[in-house]
Symmetry: C2
């Protein structure tokens, strides 16, 4: 079974349980998770687990899914009227637009909780790995350095943009790599540089997408950074400069892969994925 | 160290880490957790752990604190403009009133995440107990039967009031008892009836408080059930009827305590606590 099928299967199973509760909440959670986005973070997690010599597919699946559930939860809360007030996400109505703010708040909450529940359920064969995995995903999601912290920096008058991007976007990429390693029974920390470089690359690709795509390609409103006065790599470096930066970050990520059984394959995958992040009209191997 | 001091100490330590992140978020989280409410749920968790012959104080502390953090998170989100829009909580401004909806959403999110992080950190000596503890608190918080589900039933046209109260209020009481047992290394399930009876007793006491207290005693607006058309035991049974029901539920809880080293002490504590839940002018031993 390929990585994407594994991820969709376990996400689907995790969400099935919600059907026994309030129907509106179950529908809002489903809408926030399906149909799939790019699933970049869970695929990264599974790729690292495989490169490390994955010995417990259920645990790697659980770690990957937990990370995607937390990502989806953060998007739902980002789209609330009190933040981005976004009508569109992944090419259709956002969860707040489709279900209202109350169910959007609760769907995000329930998905955060579900992420930890899925992780615990997946650790049956290797309970000794669970505490480290919980710590990794929690630090990437909460505060002081996780997604909630990143979003909360938007409420501050003074903001360090590096700190902001590392928390809002980078932290979950780093967590995906660390969690993939720990799920496979190896140490997570040596994977930090790889994850951080990939997180920065993703941010630059997102900046390029925001500037150059139209909304239908992007699945969400384009030009939001300029509209909201947010920093953007294209605005500061130009398109060519941003593309060169993306290349350098992909190189740095590939060079940061620690020695492991699947290092060569993961290096190749890293370059492929960096290119896949770009809008299709900019992909260097678009044919 | 008594139970309350243990709880305040570990909650304080857990929140200290937030100071390295966005100051507004750290302040909103602190405001939502301190100064303390009654800490009914974490004290219950510690009482069960002690009655079961607690062998790992750090793990019992972590379980109790995780449950209180999740409770505080749910109150913060309940007070959002899109739900109760409550200006007052615990006798002063609610988190949304004091910090605005964006930081209130994020403070709730970050407290949910922190609860799981605290739990994982506390399980160092007994990693084999962690997955069960995560499952217990997650089921009490998410959907289909936890707090998020309970709150989401308010968004449905048809609602089974028993299901609603068990999810919104009862689930975390049940979790507190199960988690206390599991943190002490014994099976959790035999404690379910005890927790469910206590959860119902708490709901009845809360109903009595809502009808009979004034806002300054209650620390939140009184008469909210009648104003919002919510079911209330006093409305359906009268004051005396509701007090008799509370007594019966406290008896049922005391009778449901499974055999354990501290059963006698816990039975006495149960009756004391049921009375403490009442507004002071109604307490049978108020002197």
């Amino acid at each position: 079974m390929d990585a994407t099928m594994r991820i969709e299967r376990i996400l689907g199973a995790a969400l099935d349980g919600a059907a026994a509760g309030p129907p509106g909440l179950a529908a809002a959670m489903h809408h926030g998770v399906f149909p799939r986005g790019a699933r970049v973070r869970p695929r990264l997690c599974l790729a690292v687990a495989a490169a490390c010599g994955e010995d417990d597919a259920a645990l790697a699946d659980a770690a990957a899914s937990a990370i995607e559930l937390l990502h989806c939860a953060s998007l739902i809360h980002d789209d609330l009227p009190c933040f981005d007030d976004a009508a569109i996400r992944r090419g259709r109505a956002s969860v707040p637009a489709a279900f209202g703010a109350p169910l959007a708040v609760l769907a995000g909450d329930a998905l955060i909780v579900l992420a930890f529940e899925v992780l615990a359920s997946g650790a049956v064969r290797h309970p000794a790995r669970l505490a480290a995995l919980i710590g990794i995903v929690a630090r990437a999601t909460g505060t002081p350095f996780g997604i909630a912290a990143g979003q909360a920096w938007e409420c501050e008058a003074e903001i360090d943009l590096g700190v902001y991007h590392r928390a809002k976007t980078g932290a979950l990429f780093t967590a995906a790599t660390l969690a993939g390693a720990v799920a496979a029974g190896v140490e997570g920390e040596p994977w930090r540089n790889f994850g951080e470089s990939l997180g920065e690359a993703y941010q630059v690709a997102d900046d390029i997408g925001d500037c150059l795509s139209n909304a239908s390609r992007l699945g969400k409103p384009a030009g939001q950074d300029a509209a909201r006065g947010r920093p953007n790599a294209v605005a500061s470096l130009g398109v060519e400069g941003a593309l060169r930066l993306l290349d350098r970050l992909a190189d740095a990520a590939a060079a940061a892969i620690p020695p492991c059984p699947g290092a060569a394959g993961l290096r190749a995958l890293t370059r492929l994925e960096a290119n896949r992040l770009l809008p299709k009209n900019l992909s260097r191997n678009a044919a």
